[in-house]
Symmetry: C2
Subunit: 157 residues, 2 copies
């Protein structure tokens, strides 16, 4: 889900219209399995796009994929990015910046490795940050992860 | 779950024997609902006890409690503390330090507000950090949270 370049904010500004192949909003994802978390601070090369604290969540199909290495259709991975408030030697969660989604459908999203990518601005199901720009805004950075199913994260117990 | 003083490490060193009323190891908690997370850095007053990145998880009963304000018997809240590796303007997760547990049983744990407290060192079900010391090692700091069911955390969407 993490990009190596910074096209994401540019895409955010675009807020593309909805198309037939659009990735659905991942209703209920907060009850899915929490995979891992990370804080990206000012000065990090991804800060402009992904600064804050992010949590990765996986639905049941994606959890199978983390374990088997094969993500089957229906697998959904969430990159839930919140502001990170650093103060008094602690980092606490702030408001939601974006809900990033990877949604597996090998046929529908064949052009982007079998994954549909979307970002819902501030978690708003009606504000799409990626739309038709998934190839450049998301997949370009995920492509080198081909051997891991185009996924950056790994499961930890 | 967060203490305001630092008895926890002292308790860690004790590794108390198991008693009949001991809090069970929370098998499967990594699939429970992720409530929130926080990083406690060097210099924070709780760093010696709780330094690192921690994630709070709740079982279904505890999720009801966060929403209703009433935690019923069977509610379990997990404080999963991992090392926080700060490098290159990012904070990533390291190895597990302790799995803290609050386990609701109003009768069994009446002396500590109806909650049983335990800490499993490095997540090892056989290494108990709290044992018979819950009143001083845990509850003393949770007591002021009485109006919130002795719980510090709150649910966020």
């Amino acid at each position: 889900m993490i990009a190596r370049t910074l096209p994401f904010l540019a895409a955010l500004a675009a807020c593309a219209p909805v198309h037939a192949a659009d990735v659905p909003y991942p209703a209920g994802y907060r009850a899915w399995t929490h995979v891992k978390s990370m804080v990206i601070e000012p000065g990090h090369p991804l800060h402009a796009s992904f600064g804050g604290i992010h949590h990765l969540y996986a639905n049941a199909e994606a959890m199978e994929g983390y374990r088997s290495g094969q993500f089957r259709d229906g697998s959904i991975i969430i990159f839930d990015l919140l502001e990170a408030n650093a103060a008094d030697n602690a980092v606490t969660e702030g408001k939601r910046k974006v809900v990033g989604v990877m949604h597996r459908d090998a046929r529908k999203y064949a052009a982007t490795g079998g994954w549909g990518f979307e970002g819902f601005v501030e978690g708003n199901p009606n504000l799409r940050a990626v739309g038709a720009n998934a190839a450049t805004a998301c997949f370009a950075c995920h492509a080198p992860q081909k051997d891991n199913g185009y996924v950056f994260s790994t499961w930890r117990e």
